[in-house]
Point group: C3
Chain length 657, copies 3
């Protein structure tokens, strides 16, 4: 696989020139230079403008745009243009339009409208990919391929049902095995013929979680197959150009751990909600970075200021866009890119933030902030690119487990995977600890501590692997609602936590679900910390209690346990208790914070020999840099013992040990 | 009709052995004996495992299971196994799949998916019933029949529309009569041909409440016809085996007063919500008991601990399952049964509580509580079975009235039948009074007082009957939004309360609807009690005011009235006022509380010569037993004047007068 | 166009005799006389009773009813009876049934079920109209035509799609122009054939706001075409009888400014929500009055007391119905009419208020209030009819702008047109100022001040017109989110406020969206007033700041601006600040309150030489009548300097200057 060698930090974004007359393109070039743009992504939604019908192609406008970019030394992130089918495609081949889970066939008129099992879509999209590669694959401006755009949206049509059956036959071999794995004997729904299996359009079929999880697996695979079909064409014609597709962080429908294997480089689109916490953003960056062994990645999209699809689309305050750009860089990004270059004159995203507003004025605050950042990034040269983030702690994230947790009927609708995951991430963030977020199947040997929040689904091999990790000196921690089911959502016959029972030395006899108004406490080291949502009743079978419940009929029973280096959290603690429990766990595991301290609002991440310091708070902070000798790459100033970070301030310290 | 003569208190539950290999069945028998199980319900969802296609039958597994149960002296509550159609049935006969009210035809994959008007369903289900009866109807283990399971779910397909028209022709004779009764002249919707009448799939048709109520009647009848078709087969083959189907308390879609006529014994499934009040549970027990003149009934399903389909599935606290079991018994149950014996290994209900958890361990709290209760029940022998609950007060409940109240467009969306009904029940419960809940068509002659909350629909004959009841010395009370419409939802021409106007001596001129933020007061006996939701403006025409409004432009006007022994509550009072008003009403009617006192949290119910005392509270209570001489059947201790009930404690006193 | 010359104030309402037997009709006549009824509207929903099938007509019942009314000197507001198709029509011509936006074809059984593009509907409805006009058009009782009833409910069927394409071809000429105007290049959705354009049934197509707005325009036109088809028949047969259709105030789907052009007189149905503010009611009266240059109009429907379709249908308090009737009259109504004469015996509206309740008793409070008002109106004779309301301030309201504002994706879901509009109206109402609400295309030359809240869509010609208005000495004020898009929802290329930029002297660089929990302040004249929802960041380009922001990173920047007589409010102020800003704006414009003062709860409106004084409050108020010499038409009492208005009290002062 080719590798993207960043010549410098990439700075640019999505460019949709087809929405404007040619006269505007020259103004764009002028403004791009002023904004320090060195890369443009296009033509993401260009299909309709390239191909007017199955026989008629028109590349002339795109030729001109690419030449203009090239003439201005702006590299191209070349989209295969297959992200949205034009109306004539959907009209000519209606099988392409996908069917929602409620059984309603969608009409044309948007992006994301194709069925991944449509043969016509695969043929037409790969034809277009081939045409793009043939025409531009050897153009010197082209730096990388951008396959389609933000894949998603599963389909539930009859063609998908048929392909699903084939997928199942391949996975399970026999219908008896399917019946067994999904427990179809429940409510007497045993299949007697493959043809009885359907895409779960109907609520009826949603009573079988094994079916639902397999359908999600199948759809993630089927959509990936569309992507792979394009990649195959690109590899044939341009074997040396790296390939990506832009991902979406915690996007539930696609198992990005599988997808990442097909990518040369990871890229993703980060759209934090209004008032997002820094930890929330860092979590998603860490998840995306973990898809490909920590290799540098691209921030393919962020908004320069406003979004348009939130309820209240606030402006990014002055300095926030810069701060979040450097936060991405701290977490491994070597490209800082925007959606979008220029606000559309009309339609759905006309009020989405852009580098260039409708008035196209350079004196706009947002344009100025982008231009200033562009200069700053240019001044960094090659100093940051290519380096990797350092971490001794891994959090295990698994898409299939996510599906299993949230399809569960019982014990609580508050058992949301990303919620508890983020609670653990946030606690570690508050402790000043940098974390990798990786698959349970990742190589864990380099970590001191591994934490798996709510690992309901334990797949074959994991118990043995994690046991070896612990035996080799590693520290492991998992939580309530873990070790419940196998990869087909069948309960483990020995009860919970199933195959982890020996390692953890416990039997989870039952799990109480508390409503939002109810609470219990964890008695830990002489302090009482609030907990709630789920409370396991645990019987110790080799483990010891390190904390007990304070309330209710299970007061005094174990709440947190350990057996050697294998820890278990039997309940969902609030922030304070979680930090206390994690701090002692990590101290014992020999993990300390990046700069030996945690400062309110300040994030510190080491990337190679660079120490990124980011002040997310609204007050200036004095940061003791822990005895390092350093120079700040942004100010060029040498730093001896400490430095002051302004509100939303950033420092990139090149450290000499 | 055969009668179920309980040999002792039945203790057991739903058993679905087809979800496990045969090897597990022997473990089940061991555990059942340890749990004191003497009855098992099966094969509720066995159709698919019994019949693989229309010609292929396989009873071998069921033969084995029934023999094992028999060998272990466990009786069988034999299900007809028709509760869920297997996939091959739905695939071969798609007309069986029902259509929702939104017009969407359901797919297979669940229970409750059949259309009650499908000829194929009726044929296949009675074939299966016949096969079951032929094979097992004379097996000595079989104690009773369990037809299908939790019937419900109306259908709105074209076949139903056609059968509905026939049903209407039978009920009304002519289309003119239908037009008149439903007031189709409104908005000019007069039918000119029977074929224009459809199942009310469309919101348009929901403007005609007469149509909606008749459609509900028709569906309740049509579903009952499916049940009756099975019963007919069973009566033919096993005339001596009693028959039940498990009901669901306040389940809106089925008029259980009609259904009860077809049953030999009433059984129902009690699933109180988290933090349900004792009065709430007692109300539903009383409603179910009242379906069949107070005869003993079966608690066919309760969860040993958790549910799975609530938002937050809390554990039943230690002692609660026992307490609620005895509460059922106090209210007439002679069978205490669980859903389910063993937690499914997968699918929708895998986290629903069970006697045997996934780990199948006897040392589990829940298993131990069940086993302890089993022993206790066994020790009671025949002492409790067959007796009847004593009550001098009847609350009138009517399903058709429920539909009429809640289809009403105006005066208030808070006019919810079960809400006001439960408010009256709860007030009586707090006063320590045992109540029967019966149909307005029941024989009321044995009661001292009859209360009909919100009897919007007054059917022919009721006014005359209740007038005779009052003339014979009985006390009658009804409330706001009563006497509004006849059985086809046409308003009474003389205004409200229609045919009850003479008896009550009032004209309800208008009814004000208050929002949840608004309130009025009732001035009663020198005290001001809050009221709200609905406030009638009443003109006295023979009645006298016993309380007046305290606020608004109708301050000083009558709020509560009486004309002799006929009382009217013109507004919806909160608990305190309701208790005060009911206390004086009942005192005058000569009704006093069961033990001459009301104690916070303590329920007292007399069943034959047994006095059940149940402490629902979390603190111990000293109960004065009112001079009775008694022995506690559970402790065998003689009780002279009083006894202490522990939190969640129970006593069953055999009284010698 | 014929003009309705009111012989006196009309008083009456909707009469549906077809729901009762003939015996009730004579009672109706008696009661109508007692209630002072002089007009009855019928047969609004009579189609089904007039035409039993396509060949069979029966006018006999209607003949009798009209004769009875005529014999009792009650005039007839004659409905064309086409408001609801009878079942046989929908059964015979299923194309008539309309399709919802979700693509579901509706069934029969209600009103408003027809597709406006159905040829069959147009043929059958005009046939009926012709039959009605032929039979009754020259009957002396008939005063005016009432076409259909409360038109609304757009359709999204294939027939509509086809007619929409024709409509577009007429509007835009070429497909290229459509693609450009709607910016179909966005997401590559450029149409290559007209047949690709569909009614926006699918969410996909809702990404194109230009399409949505044009579809709304088209549907408003298509429904109006149904109305015009009936009008054409009526004009032909009865050229001298005035025509109306009853409108619904702020009903979003129909552009009443276009509709009004076809009407001889405006009529509308006023149903204020529970606890509606007086300003809210006045706003809608003013909007309806403004449809036809302030000509007198008809209050075609109001409820005498309760509604039935609200959540909580409270009674109108004693005096409120009278007060609101006179409020309508103050705002230009010459007819006070009710829905409905008599409560239906069954179906959807049986609990809607009526003059005659189910008991049909004259001693009912509501009947008495109506009868009393009837007498009072009769005593007014011709003194009030025909006069016009006086106002120096115009608020500009535009339906197409409403659609544009609320289809917008971003910046805030709180950008609701009627919300901000009502905030401005309410502030003016509180200042005691009478306001006209007119179209941006109205003749503005008679006004001193013109206010256009949130005029997002600025159509061709408006900027020039309003500039001329300002140049001629007028005062103009507009607000945040104005001047954003043209009539096809394309953003103005010069940024915001687009063509108003020169007049206002500002550039709105960006607009911050605040959540409901967030707030900023406006520093105006030394006071700090709260504002929120939207906050523009404004660059002054000729304007001056008259107020600045108090908070956030744009503290100190302009919040309110003016350039000469052209004012701009860059944020959404709460009541107090809005009143302060408007008061100084209007003072400068020379506009003062109607009676030189504003009194809490008292509304004063001048209509010709009459001064209406209405006390909406619950306490009596002393009103100084500003030196006028007057006589109160209701009491006949002369008023010298002041008068006391009781709670809910009204005075109609005939003024001698």
């Amino acid at each position: 696989m080719p590798r993207l060698d960043f010549p410098y930090v990439l700075h640019g974004g999505d460019y949709n020139p087809e929405q404007w007359p040619e006269s505007v393109w020259d103004q764009d070039m002028e403004l791009m230079k002023k904004a320090g743009v060195n890369i443009a992504t296009l033509p993401v939604f260009g299909w309709g403008n390239i191909q007017k019908d199955e026989e008629t192609w028109d590349f002339s406008w795109l030729d001109k745009v690419i030449e203009k970019l090239h003439a201005n030394s702006i590299r191209v992130c070349l989209a295969t243009a297959t992200a949205a089918t034009p109306p004539w495609v959907d009209q000519k081949y209606p099988d392409i339009l996908r069917t929602d889970q409620d059984g309603i066939k969608r009409r044309h008129g948007s992006r994301h409208t194709f069925c991944p099992c449509s043969e016509n879509f695969r043929r037409l999209s790969t034809n277009l990919t081939r045409a793009m590669a043939d025409r531009y694959g050897h153009h010197p401006a082209v730096l990388l391929w951008h396959v389609s755009n933000e894949y998603g949206n599963p389909c539930y049509c009859d063609a998908c049902s048929a392909e699903f059956r084939t997928w199942l036959q391949h996975r399970y071999g026999s219908l008896d095995e399917v019946n067994h794995r999904w427990n179809m004997a429940f409510w007497g729904q045993t299949y007697t013929d493959w043809s009885q299996i359907e895409a779960p359009q109907d609520k009826a079929q949603r009573n079988f979680q094994g079916l639902l999880i397999d359908y999600d697996r199948f759809q993630s695979d089927a959509i990936l197959n569309c992507c792979k079909a394009e990649i195959e064409v690109l590899r044939e014609i341009t074997p040396d150009i790296p390939i990506t597709t832009n991902m979406m962080g915690t996007f539930k429908a696609l198992d990005y751990h599988k997808w990442a294997k097909e990518m040369d480089i990871i890229s993703w689109d980060s759209y934090p909600a209004r008032n997002a916490e820094p930890a929330d953003i860092a979590f998603r960056h860490s998840l995306m970075r973990g898809l490909k062994e920590g290799e540098p990645w691209m921030l393919m999209e962020q908004t320069p200021s406003q979004q348009n699809w939130q309820a209240f689309n606030s402006l990014k305050r002055p300095g926030i866009m810069r701060l979040w750009s450097y936060q991405a860089m701290a977490h491994g990004a070597d490209a800082i890119m925007y959606f979008q270059w220029r606000r559309s004159p009309g339609a759905q995203e006309m009020f989405h933030g852009a580098v260039v507003e409708h008035a196209a004025r350079e004196d706009a605050r947002v344009f100025q902030e982008v231009a200033t950042l562009g200069k700053e990034l240019a001044s960094l040269g090659t100093q940051t690119v290519g380096t990797k983030v350092e971490s001794k702690v891994a959090l295990l994230f698994d898409w299939e487990n996510w599906w299993a947790v949230e399809y569960s009927s019982g014990p609580s609708i508050m058992a949301k995977y990303c919620d508890i995951f983020l609670d653990y991430f946030r606690a570690l963030f508050s402790l000043g600890i940098t974390v990798d977020v990786v698959s349970p199947e990742a190589d864990l040997s380099g970590y001191s501590a591994v934490i798996a929040p709510m690992l309901k689904m334990v797949k074959p091999g994991f118990a043995a692997n994690i046991t070896r990790f612990v035996e080799a000196g590693g520290y492991f921690l998992t939580t309530t609602f873990s070790g419940i089911v196998d990869e087909t959502d069948r309960a483990f016959e020995n009860g919970y936590p199933g195959p982890l029972a020996d390692l953890l030395g416990i039997w989870v006899e039952e799990t109480d679900a508390l409503s939002p108004e109810e609470q219990n406490t964890v008695q830990l080291g002489g302090t009482s910390y609030p907990c709630g949502k789920l409370c396991d009743r645990i019987q110790l079978e080799g483990a010891e209690a390190i904390a007990t419940y304070g309330e209710d009929f299970y007061a005094g029973e174990p709440a947190l346990t350990r057996k050697g280096r294998a820890f278990y959290h039997g309940t969902w603690m609030e922030a304070e208790g979680l930090q206390a429990a994690l701090e002692s766990f990590l101290t014992e595991a020999g993990v300390s914070s990046t700069i030996g301290q945690s400062i309110e609002g300040v994030e510190a991440v080491k990337r190679g020999n660079l120490l990124f310091l980011l002040n997310h708070g609204k007050v200036a902070q004095l940061v003791d840099i822990n005895g390092y000798k350093a120079v700040d790459l942004l100010t060029k100033a040498p730093i001896s013992s400490s430095l002051e970070l302004q509100p939303f301030g950033v420092a990139i310290l090149q450290i000499t040990p």
